[in-house]
């Protein structure tokens, strides 16, 4: 009746029990607040059934941030364990639990914090920057979000019920096969990644078509903001890389569930084929994360330098070349796994080549600032930290791209330091910069700039303390994923330093959370009344903060880059002055419905509750057929209503 699920699945170590109780209490608190404030109808109408990308973007960011905190908690546990577990001491987590923690950390951060932030920002900003009112497929956009959320919830469920995978964030076989990981952990991992992955693929198609087909009049490709270009390239990567992930996890699942032999150690299976395929996806994936971060800096740096972005054309070409090259480097993730020198050399050289267009971008940002009027706002501070940390991390990447060097440090803490320089120094700092920059646009009020700065300094110093010693440890032979080491290694002081760095980052995170809550509480005193607080260049700053539901009352017409600066100087084509009826797609509960059914399906498959899996899967098919057989329904905002909404907005601005 319950498949393999039994009461043992609810028993955990005490540290995990605390987390689970906290999670459950938090959920109850939120439900309680909703009842108290009588906000269920509001939640349903405004958020759960929405197809408005502005709302969907906010939901993505909220889920991504929640998952980021979970992943960060995993990181803190690892740092604490490694600071404590030396010689005769054994820390506070068992080895088995530690394996679950590092597996969950990577999985959560890449698939949920990372991809959630990417799609969140794309939802919020891309339609605005291309002068569009909506995305190409509003329902599929919502569906993509709910599949993503479903995967995230399945990850949280795995914390409370049963064990998670102990096979790392990529679940290499044979360890991840049924013989060596017979319990539910790897199954949880497979289903939450697959469900979220389908969501990502759908969203990738949605945004690529949006960018290609829904730009406003006059906005040719070479007049798009670089953030949109970076989104376009990232979506190309999503579309062509995620199917490889889907296929590979499909085959791993077939091995586990139906006794197949793709990646088993016997019967002719070949585990290296998994590693080959998973990294053929995995390398483009990291570029999916970093390209939008590059795009964010291409928006922030010119605005806060009061100067046009240097080298627009070379920026575009750099993005395109990085996109193509990112498909030809994947073997560098497994140089040490037996390929001959020729093969290693080819992929090593290809990897080194990617540094060139990346360097072009960094120099272009720096040249943008040269002779500009630079404002040292917190988004700019994040940029400076990025230049330092991402460049250092990037240079260690060049070191790693040489196979002989990689043989020394592969899977050591040197590698960990390198890629965290990329994802934290590059991706996360980019996100923090963009989050602060665009927060007033989306919400209509400002974050506290002072608190932003304190948080920044905590993150910056914390990051350096937490990750620079890892380079040293890696050189000294410290392997990754260690839950214990000997005192004679002499590594303990460095692990203490690293732990201190993590604690300082924790301070930064706490300041950010506090700052967010205080800003929301205090919002009436911090309103963005003009819609353009930074003297922006691009179209999103030409509409109110927060934007009206239809984004643009009149679709803009552009004829050059940085169209808003042109408008401000009186150098732009005059837009049409007549309001027209605006059609917007109707809300629908189907996205939420299919998302929840997917969650049930993933859980049922994990625990071999076959009857539930069949029912939920059939229900998903039925929902899809119903939804895709319906009429194209729209709400209409008449021209008169638009005129009135615009007039009301002007009135409230001048009072």
């Amino acid at each position: 009746m319950f498949g393999r699920l039994n009461l043992d699945a609810f028993k955990h170590e005490s540290s995990q029990n605390i987390a689970v109780i906290g999670m459950v209490l938090g959920g109850i608190a939120i439900i309680g607040i909703l009842f108290y404030l009588k906000r269920w109808k509001w939640l349903w109408n405004e958020w759960l059934t929405t197809v408005d990308p502005k709302r969907i973007g906010v939901m993505y960011i909220i889920v991504a941030l929640l998952m980021f905190f979970k992943g960060f908690a995993d990181a803190l546990m690892m740092r604490l364990q490694q600071a404590l577990s030396v010689g005769d001491a054994h820390g506070f987590i068992s080895p088995g639990h530690f394996q679950e923690v590092f597996s969950a950390h990577g999985t959560t951060m890449i698939f949920f914090a990372g991809m959630g932030i990417v799609f969140g920002l794309l939802n919020l900003i891309v339609p605005l920057q291309i002068g569009a009112r909506d995305v190409a497929y509003p329902f599929l956009n919502a569906l993509g979000f709910w599949l993503f959320a479903s995967g995230a919830v399945l990850g949280l469920v795995s914390l409370a019920i049963g064990k998670f995978s102990t096979a790392g964030w990529l679940a290499y076989p044979p360890l991840s096969g049924i013989e060596y990981s017979p319990d539910e952990g790897v199954d949880y991992w497979i289903w939450l990644v697959q469900i979220a992955g389908v969501g990502s693929t759908i969203s990738g198609i949605n945004f690529l078509v949006t960018i290609l087909k829904m730009r406003c009049p006059g906005m040719t490709l070479m007049k798009m903001p670089i953030f949109v270009w970076s989104a376009l390239c990232a979506m190309v990567l999503v579309i062509f890389a995620f199917p490889i992930l889907t296929a590979t996890l499909y085959m791993l699942a077939l091995d586990r569930y139906l006794g197949m032999h793709f990646f088993t150690a016997g019967f002719g299976g070949n585990p290296m084929m998994y590693i080959n395929l998973i990294w053929a996806w995995g390398h483009p994936e990291v570029y999916i994360l970093i390209l939008p971060a590059f795009g964010i800096f291409s928006e922030v740096v010119p605005t806060f330098s009061e100067k046009r972005l240097f080298g627009y054309v070379s920026m575009v070409w750099a993005l395109i070349i990085i996109t193509i090259l990112s498909f030809i480097v994947w073997l560098h993730h497994f140089f040490t796994m037996g390929a001959s020198p020729n093969v290693n050399a080819f992929f090593g050289v290809m990897t080194m080549l990617i540094a060139i267009p990346t360097g072009v971008k960094i120099f272009n940002w720096l040249f943008t600032k040269f002779q500009g009027h630079v404002h040292f706002t917190s988004p700019m501070l994040w940029f400076f930290a990025f230049v330092l940390n991402f460049s250092v991390g990037g240079m260690t990447g060049i070191l790693l791209s040489s196979p002989p060097v990689d043989y020394q440090v592969h899977n050591s803490l040197f590698l960990i330091a390198h890629f965290h320089g990329m994802v934290i120094g590059g991706f996360l700092f980019g996100f923090f910069s963009g989050f602060t920059y665009w927060f007033p646009k989306i919400t209509g009020f400002f974050l506290s700039e002072n608190l932003n700065r304190y948080a920044f300094w905590c993150w910056f110093t914390g990051f350096l303390l937490a990750f620079m010693p890892l380079y040293m440890l890696g050189f000294m032979g410290a392997t990754r994923r260690l839950d214990h080491y000997e005192a004679s290694t002499g590594w303990h002081p460095l692990f203490l330093t690293v732990g201190l760095g993590a604690a300082i980052i924790l301070c930064g995170v706490c300041i950010q959370i506090y700052g967010l809550f205080m800003s929301i509480k205090d919002r009436k005193n911090n309103l963005d009344l003009t819609g353009d607080p930074w003297n922006g260049r691009t179209l999103e700053w030409s509409i109110p903060s927060p934007p009206p539901i239809y984004n643009f009352a009149i679709t803009p017409t552009v004829d050059q880059l940085d169209p808003l600066w042109a408008i401000k100087r009186g150098l732009a084509p005059k837009p049409e002055k007549d309001y027209e009826d605006i059609h917007l797609p109707k809300n629908t509960p189907m996205g939420l419905c299919i998302g929840m059914l997917s969650l049930i399906f993933g859980f049922a498959m994990t625990w071999y509750i076959i009857w539930l899996a069949i029912i939920s899967f059939t229900a998903i098919i039925v929902c899809l057929i119903i939804r895709l057989s319906g009429e194209d329904e729209h709400d209409v905002i008449t021209a008169a209503q638009v005129k009135e909404m615009e007039a009301a907005r002007l009135r409230s601005q001048t009072t």
Binding site: A136, Y137, L140, I205, L208, V209, L212, K213, M214, R215, C216, P217, G218, M219, T220, L221, K223, I239, F240, F242, P243, I244, A247, T248, Y250, M251, L254, D255, L258, G259, M260, H261, F262, G266, F267, G268, G269, N270, M273, L277, E306, K307, R308, Q371, G372, H373, N535, V558, D559, Q560, W565, A566, R569, L571, P573, I621, I625, L628, S629, D632
Partner: protein, 208 residues
């Protein structure tokens, strides 16, 4: 306010018309579905490549030379090809707003597609009963998965086709049903395209 440092000059050749003249629902749907088909190509490419890597790993069991029947695969190929063409003829009827002909042609395509799935299931059942299931070796795992995934796509296509026939029967040929038929026919032709590579690389190469 401090003056901006950069000077802007409007592009005299700028085209202020919509950069894409085809922003209607039909064009957007076709392009989006095409992109989905491209992702499916990559998915099949991963399965094909895995088959290529594993097809000799028979683990002492039978190889493709012992197991594959050219007459079966030829029959399947012809059936699928006919199904693809009758689907096309159905689309031509939709161009003429002839809803009855549309349902008729698609019914033929449906029967042919269902026959294809039946023959394939028969082939698989036969192999399993002989003891040559997907558990026997990596070769058999990759064979069953590659061919079976294509068969699964065909089965989903049959369900979709069935729903479409009902829609056209009830609603006639409208802008909406024509759009959906067009997208379905892309899917159905795509499956025949993938099959070309299956009968070539799996069945024909398998007996050489």
């Amino acid at each position: 306010m401090k003056p901006l440092i950069v000077h802007h000059t409007p592009d005299p050749y700028a085209d202020t018309h919509s950069p894409d003249t085809h922003q209607d629902t039909f064009s957007k749907t076709v392009l989006g579905f095409w992109m989905y088909l491209m992702t499916d190509c990559i998915l099949f490419a991963a399965l094909f490549t895995t088959y290529a890597v594993l097809h000799n790993n028979t683990f002492g069991g039978p190889s493709s030379r012992e197991l594959f029947s050219l007459s079966t695969s030829f029959t399947e190929t012809m059936i699928l090809l006919f199904s693809s063409v009758t689907c096309g003829l159905g689309m031509l009827s939709a161009l003429r707003n002839d809803k009855n002909r549309v349902v008729a042609w698609f019914s033929v395509a449906f029967l042919l597609g269902a026959s294809f799935v039946a023959i394939e299931l028969n082939e698989f059942t036969h192999l399993v009963h002989e003891g040559n299931s997907w558990r026997r070796s990596a070769f058999l795992s990759s064979f069953f998965t590659l061919v079976g995934t294509h068969g699964l796509h065909v089965s989903i296509g049959l369900l979709w086709m069935f729903v479409m026939m009902i829609q056209v029967y009830l609603l006639g040929v409208t802008a909406i049903t024509f759009r959906r038929l067009a997208v379905f026919s892309m899917f159905w032709h795509f499956l025949d395209l993938v099959w070309i590579f299956i009968f070539t690389f799996v069945y024909l190469m398998g007996v050489i």
